[in-house]
């Protein structure tokens, strides 16, 4: 993975000092809260319900063992012993003191980590496929480009005070695991007819109040021009986006107001100028230099046989093991969705133990997925039984990757100042209802995604079943959305109807799922059945109890 050189190290160190000074000025009264807020947000610091929350960047979801140990250390020393992995593949701590933050940043910098641009109206942490570099499906590893984008976007002088947040993801596989098209600016690594590798760029995706799937902006951008093109998109956005209505300031609104063609035209004009100036041209040497950091580990020549183990191990293999590009290796998903636990939460003990496990099994890096799980990208197949046994002891071996209990949930009203309703108790309740593994396998791939407010950190628009928490006079209600997708067939989920109480939402979801089981044909997934039969049959069943109650 990428390692800082002296310039990166100095940059992050100076950024820590800069933030320390901002905190000092706030405490000394030289900055009002209004002025401080955007500055602290730009460094991932929120004031939440119970304390400050610090969001630490995990660029493109990649961590090494040393960094994992540092997160465990921060959880112990500055927080309450645990952290939370987010849908942006970052880590959040929810019990942070403002006065401790500069020291935390200093500690993070010592392991090449930071909180730069994990919030605020700027370019956010760049995400990628969590199987990057390990899957045989990809054209090439997307992470070198992610790292190039990370550097280019770090304290970019023109784009630190955008109208709203701006999220970029890079994909490189036909099967999208990074919710690519839901981003402000998705970048897809593609090959043209001549066999050259380049980039397809989209713009205008986004969740929130007005969900949109990104539209194509340019079919093929040459390698060396990619930063010029991205800068062109950002410039058009910065110049032309609205600033008068916070709900209409994302690039998705601009793109859908002026239209795809006009957006393409404006970008093209900027692109031609930036390209002509040559200043952002990406030299092959720089690309090669960054690429070298992401060279795959030296794979041993191993027997490709998959070990056979206990009943539990075999179940885990069914869902949590994926095909690796090298024989004798596998990609292993570590579920952070143990039944009854908070999705994405991890304790300092688990983090330390995972770092030890990585060392013991020679796994240099671990990945964070946007689905709030962890991934061991390069595990030897022969080690899997031993890895599984260790994970079991840590309560990290839940065999549910991609199944109905693998639920995405934002922190919701239990922690978040923006939330209208709790997400975590709903996720726990639904997971318990579907705890039976045979039933989960029978249901198959079904993605439930829960957000505690319209900001959609829990990706409810992209859930096969999405759940949105709303507030009705101080009481929590939950709307169901059906038919969303965060994969290559991205679609926006449709709202089913009036919300359910916290008590009724679990049973309603069960009725929806049971309806699918009755209606499905020929191995259809939930999403396929929904697309075939539409909302009505699900809606009729979901509200059944209410109808009886009303009569």
């Amino acid at each position: 993975m990428y390692r800082y050189d002296e310039f990166d190290a100095q940059f992050v160190k100076e950024r820590v000092s800069q933030f320390r000074y901002q905190v000092e000025r706030r405490l000394a009264g030289e900055l009002t809260e209004d002025e401080f807020k955007p500055l602290r947000l730009m460094n991932g610091l929120y004031l939440q319900l119970h304390a400050y929350m610090l969001r630490i960047a995990v660029p493109y979801g990649t961590l090494n063992a040393k960094q994992m140990r540092m997160l465990a250390h921060i959880a112990r020393k500055y927080d309450k012993g645990y952290g939370h992995f987010t849908t942006r593949t970052n880590m959040q701590f929810h019990w942070i003191k403002l006065v401790d933050v500069p020291d935390i940043l200093e500690e993070l910098a010592s392991v090449e980590m930071h909180c730069i641009q994990t919030s605020g109206n700027c370019i956010r942490n760049v995400t990628a496929d969590h199987f990057a570099g390990a899957t045989d499906e990809e054209i090439e590893d997307p992470r070198p480009l992610c790292e190039i984008i990370r550097q280019w976007s770090s304290l970019h002088p023109e784009f630190v005070f955008l109208a709203r947040k701006f999220k970029i993801a890079v994909g490189a596989t036909p099967h999208d695991r990074a919710a690519l098209l839901w981003h402000d600016m998705p970048v897809e690594i593609v090959k043209n007819e001549a066999g050259e590798v380049g980039y397809r760029v989209y713009a205008g995706g986004g969740m929130g109040r007005t969900p949109y799937i990104a539209l194509l902006m340019k079919d093929f951008v040459k390698r060396e021009d990619i930063l010029a093109y991205l800068e062109a998109v950002l410039r058009v956005y910065n110049q032309d986006s609205r600033r008068d209505n916070i709900h209409k300031q994302r690039i998705k609104i601009l793109v859908n107001t002026i239209g795809q063609e006009e957006m393409q035209r404006r970008i093209e004009r900027e692109f031609e100028e930036i390209k002509a100036s040559g200043s952002l041209q990406l030299p092959q040497e720089e690309l090669d230099r960054i690429k070298a950091y992401f060279a795959p580990p030296k794979f041993e020549t191993l027997d490709d046989e998959m070990p056979i183990g206990s009943y539990d191990f075999e179940n885990w293999k069914k869902t949590n093991i994926h095909k690796h590009r090298a024989p004798g290796y596998a990609i292993a998903t570590i579920s952070l969705k143990a039944i009854g636990q908070t999705p994405g939460d991890i304790s300092h003990v688990q983090m330390d133990a995972l770092a030890d496990l990585m060392d013991q099994f020679g796994i240099d890096e671990i990945r964070v997925s946007h689905e709030q799980n962890l991934v061991l990208p390069h595990a030897r197949k022969r080690d899997l039984p031993a890895i599984f046994a260790r994970l079991q002891k840590l309560d990290l071996a839940t065999p549910n990757s991609g199944l109905i209990t693998d639920i995405i949930a934002c922190p919701g009203l239990d922690y978040c100042d923006l939330a209208n309703a709790r997400s975590i108790p709903i996720a726990k309740d639904i997971a318990r209802r579907f705890e039976n593994l045979d039933r989960q396998h029978d249901i198959g791939e079904l993605k439930i995604k829960i957000s505690g407010c319209i900001n959609a950190c829990g990706h409810h628009h992209a859930g096969h079943i999405g759940i949105l928490g709303v507030d009705k006079k101080g009481v929590e209600y939950y709307q169901i959305l059906l038919g969303g997708s965060g994969a290559e067939d991205a679609t926006v989920g449709n709202i089913m109807g009036p919300g359910f109480s916290a008590h009724d939402i679990g049973p309603a979801v069960e009725r929806v799922v049971d309806t699918y089981v009755k209606l499905r044909q020929n191995g259809e997934r939930f999403l396929d059945t929904y697309r075939r039969v539409g909302m009505e049959p699900f809606k009729n069943m979901a509200y059944l109890e209410q109808m009886y109650a009303a009569h």
């Binding site: 706030r26 809260e33 304390a51 403002l98 908070t342 239990d414 709790r422 975590i424 929590e476």
Partner: protein
């Protein structure tokens, strides 16, 4: 149903550590049970105005009033958000204010 008087409590977060605090007799305390309950709006608004001095002095951030009600002799927040702020996360009963024995009424005014 007889109209119940609108009861309110004044709260904010402490600047230095973000902790939830409540207004009690011109100072900030950490526990909801110690908070002043305002039965009339002018008094509540006067407390909020007085609290602004603490904003200026960088003690707290964003003070505001929220609705409470009396329930079986106990004062309780009306909205779920405030119930959770008073107690801590509903999914981690071991954390937050709810984790501390409520008898431990040490003085935390600042």
């Amino acid at each position: 149903m007889a109209a119940t008087p609108a009861l309110q409590v004044l709260t904010s977060n402490r600047l230095r550590d973000g902790a939830v605090v409540y207004w009690q007799a011109g100072a900030w305390v950490e526990y909801f049970k110690d908070a002043d309950v305002f039965h009339d709006k002018p008094l509540a608004d006067a407390a909020l105005a007085a609290a602004m001095v603490f904003v200026k002095d960088r003690v707290v951030v964003n003070p505001y009033l929220f609705a409470v009600r009396e329930e079986a002799g106990q004062i309780r927040a009306v909205e779920q958000r405030e119930i959770i702020r008073c107690a801590g996360p509903s999914v981690r009963r071991d954390l937050g204010k709810q984790a501390k024995p409520s008898m431990e009424a040490f003085d935390v005014s600042i």
